[in-house]
Structures are given as C-alpha cells and as structure tokens.
Symmetry: C2
Subunit: 262 residues, 2 copies
DNA sequence: TGATATGGATTGTCTGGACAATCCATATAA
DNA sequence: TTATATGGATTGTCCAGACAATCCATATCA
C-alpha cells in the first residue's frame, strides 16, 4: 500500500526517491503512467510546485518522460548496439545478431537518412584535427539517420576541400560504396582512425535535430581517419543519443585492458 | 551592452538562451560568475521563479554550476583522456603526453584509490556476462579513484568466486601486478575483451560516490574479459563522469571505420 | 592578538494561486 | 454518417512571497 511517508515534512527529494524506488523495484513498469500531479499532491500533502519539482528530478534523470497533457510515464530502456569499429550498423539490443538484418527488411525498419552537403570553414576543433589553417575550407556532409521515423544519430563528416573536390562526396546523395572508398580510389587510403568520445548534455540544436527529451545526454564522437603518412583524411562528428544506444567495442587479442595501476 | 531583450514577454527559455549565448560567445569565460538572481530579475523584468528556471536550464545542460551562497558560475571544460585499450592511465587533455607522468609526481597528483572487497550475488547483468547461475557467487572489488582529491571514476570488478578464491584478489589492497596477472598466473589468461558503453544520467548513488553536480551525465562501461575458450573471467563496471573524461580509442589498421550504408 | 558574534548577500526550498496549451472523449449539428 | 463544437483532464508557464541555509566579511569583545 506504499502510502504517504510518515515524515513530517515531505520535500521534492522524498517524492522523487519514493517514485524512483517504485520504478526500480518494478512496481511501475516501462511505459506505465505515474500518478497525476493532483494525485501526488494528495498522496504527499505538498503543494503542486513541490510535486512538480520531485517529478522534474526523475525527468532530469531520464527515468520518466512527461507527455502533455496525458501525464508522466516511465521511460523504456531499449537501446541499439553501435559498433564504431565495424560500421554504422545498428540493431536493438534485444534482437539476436543474425535476425536483425532480415527483421529490418521485414518490419520496414530500413534506416533512412537526410543528407546535406556544404563547403564551410570548419570549426576550430575539426580544423585542428584535419591540419587545416584558418583560411582553408572543408566539405561537410551532414546526415541525420532515422530508424522507424525516429532520428537515432547525426553524423557530420568533414573532408579537406582539396581531397573532396570533384568527387561524389560533393553530391548530397547516398554514397553506396562509401566515402572512404571514394577517397581510396583517388589514392587516399585510410589506414588508421582515432575515436574520441565525450559525454555531455546536448545543445539546444542537438535536442532539436535528434528530438531528444529532457534528461537525455549524448555521446559526441570525433572520428579522425588518417592515411599511411599520418595525414588526416576526414573528421566525423557523430552525436549519439544516450537513451538509444549502447556503444560496443571489441578488443580481440589485447591481453590486459583493465590493468591495475603499477 | 546586451541589455534587456525588447520582447514583451521574457520567459525562462529566453533567459537561458541569452545567457548561453554570452557563454558560448565568450563574454562569460570559464569560471566567471553569472549575474545574481536579483540582477537577472532586474535585467529581464521577470519574477525570481522564472529567473531560477532559466538558470536551471543551463545547470541542466552542465554549462553552469551553482555554488551556494556565492552565485552561479560558468563551468570549466577540462577533461582527462581515458584509454580503455591500454590501461586506466588518465591525463588532462591540455597536457602533452610526455609531460604528464612527471607532472603527476611533481604536482603531487598521484592518483589514489579506495578499495573494498566483498563476496556477493552479482547483479543480473553481471551474472549473465560471467555465465553464473542464480546461486553462484562472485567477488567484487569496488574502487573509487581520485586525482587531486576529486573522484574521477569508480570501477567495480567482478570475478567468479571459483577463480578468485584464495588469491590476492580477495584482499582489499592494491594489486601491484594487476588482477589479470593474478588470474593469468593461476592459468586463466585473458585474451579478449568487450567494452559496452551506455550513456545516461547518474543514479543518486553514483552522484554521491563521484560528487557529481547536476547536469553531469556518466558513461557506464561494461568490460568483459574472456580466456581463449571464450569463458568470461571478469566483468568490470566503470562509471566515468562525463564532465571529467574524454574516451579515446585508437583503431590502427582498420580500413573503413565510417562506412556509408551499403 | 585572537576568538566570537553579528549581519549581509546569495541561493535553496516550499507555499499558493492564476492562466495557457494540449489532447481526448463526448455531444451536437449538418 | 460525418464533421464540428464543447468541456474536461492534465501538464506548462509565470507570478509573488516567506523562510531556511550557507558562507563571508566585519565588528566586537576578551
């Protein structure tokens, strides 16, 4: 009967803790609706503002989403696997690997994407990785990828203009053989890549592009590709919504990934 | 002069946008204090509640921290590099690699850690990766690592009890040669590892253990180590505060990390 | 000099109320 | 039957005020 706590004073933290416990215990399952604000006001005997602040804590933790004007709901935890090492293939974590590709076709889950191409002065962090000076330009292919209509990542790939000029990279179409193959065919073979992931809250722009709810952090992945001479051929910025992905990295043959400090 | 906007109605979003612009433009640098709530009430002509909600947006984005009772300050963006492939060595991103080790010693920045060891029934996700049934136990080494007194990660390593029993793993001391070496000496050589990263907001427990401010997401890393027969030897759960780390992964020799969809 | 007290500045928490925005189900009208 | 209007339920936004908590600088006192 999890009735009103006995504490004389109930604050937003107590409300959030109580509801969170119900969620992690499973009393409230994924997708379930939480009590309405009015019901919580009754249950905890506080003002509406305090109830809302308690709910805001859970929303900020990404545990709960508010759907106006229907109420608050427990968020669902499905995530896709993202394997930066192989390619951008993505699949739900509850689907066996083999099944995924066929299921994609079956269920009409074919990924779609929007592409837009521009010639820009790259941002400073991109320019630094590409080894471009201030007045050099780059080609950027900006893509938003969708699965079942919902955006699941953005990928902005920057190429030095001198490399991309006159190639299929300049065209805002899907490149079936891959941009790296285009570069390789022109003699620029990518032999090494470095990924840098930073974890942070999204900018308003990212929130909009990826339709992110509140309390959803993102991973921002910088991928820098190099040729055999160490020259940077491309820099990709991938934004991965935290609530839709698990990033999986396979490390075959590495003997000691978690070494204790020496 | 960036005076009060001319809009008839100023809401929390406008306040947050205006202040955010000042931060990203650099008018307000890292560590600078924002105007006080009272000053913002004057500037925007709204109630205190609305001003606070505007500030809460920036706090939620991790752009601003509140230090009671001193005011709101622009957060600083220093991050350490974390390379799961090599080891747990961590260094600030603004320090050249070579300098770091000596500087660590110079500045007394030697990492410290707390260790606590327990025999537990592992959580379901750990048990699944270790291939343990419901009634089998595991040894967990829970560590919190500090740099300059501030916690920068937690690492909970689970070992099947049958493997760890009677070894140095059971002792709540630093294992100089590394836990993996201990296992290897007992004939369990780890030859492969898989990392899984999920991005999310921290639990209250994690907030407490890592002294996380609001608006700070975390990366939760599952590292599963296998021997040559594919048997899982250990599972480590590493929690990385998003505001303190960049995760760097080197991919030598991989030809096409960012392949376009075929 | 040194310890203690006081007050000020600032943010944190909570109350209570008013109106707007959104979606849904139902009732009504064409 | 179909389209339109209405009202209800619920969350979103904003206002105004009260008091608590925390840290700091200053003044006071021993």
């Amino acid at each position: 009967m999890a009735a009103a706590p006995k504490r004389r004073r109930v604050g937003k933290v107590e409300i959030a803790t109580d509801l969170r416990n119900q969620i992690v215990r499973g009393d409230l399952g994924e997708g379930d609706q939480l009590p309405t604000e009015a019901a919580l006001i009754d249950r905890y005997g506080t003002s509406r503002n305090t109830v809302r602040e308690g709910l805001a804590i859970l929303v900020g933790e990404g545990l709960v989403v508010a759907k106006r004007p229907h109420g608050y709901f427990v968020r669902d935890g499905h995530r896709m696997e993202y394997r930066p090492q192989s390619d951008l293939t993505v699949r739900p974590d509850d689907v066996p690997k083999d099944v995924f590709l066929t299921e994609l076709a079956d269920a009409g889950r074919t990924p779609t994407q929007t592409i837009d191409v521009a010639i820009v002065r790259p941002p400073a962090d991109v320019a630094a990785r590409l080894g471009l000076s201030d007045d050099e330009h780059a080609v950027v292919r900006r893509r938003v990828r969708f699965l079942e209509g919902a955006p699941y990542m953005t990928n902005d790939s920057y190429f030095p203009l001198t490399l991309a000029q006159g190639t299929a990279i300049m065209s805002p179409e899907d490149i079936a053989r891959g941009a790296n193959r285009v570069l390789a065919d022109a003699g620029h073979v990518q032999v090494r890549a470095v990924d840098e992931f930073t974890i942070r809250m999204p900018t308003p722009d990212e929130q909009h592009r990826l339709a992110l709810g509140p309390g959803t952090p993102v991973a921002r992945q910088f991928t820098t590709g190099y040729d055999r001479h160490g020259k940077a051929l491309r820099v990709a910025i991938t934004i991965l919504p935290g609530d839709r992905h698990t990033i999986v990295i396979d490390r075959p043959g590495l003997p000691d990934p978690e070494a204790e400090p020496s």
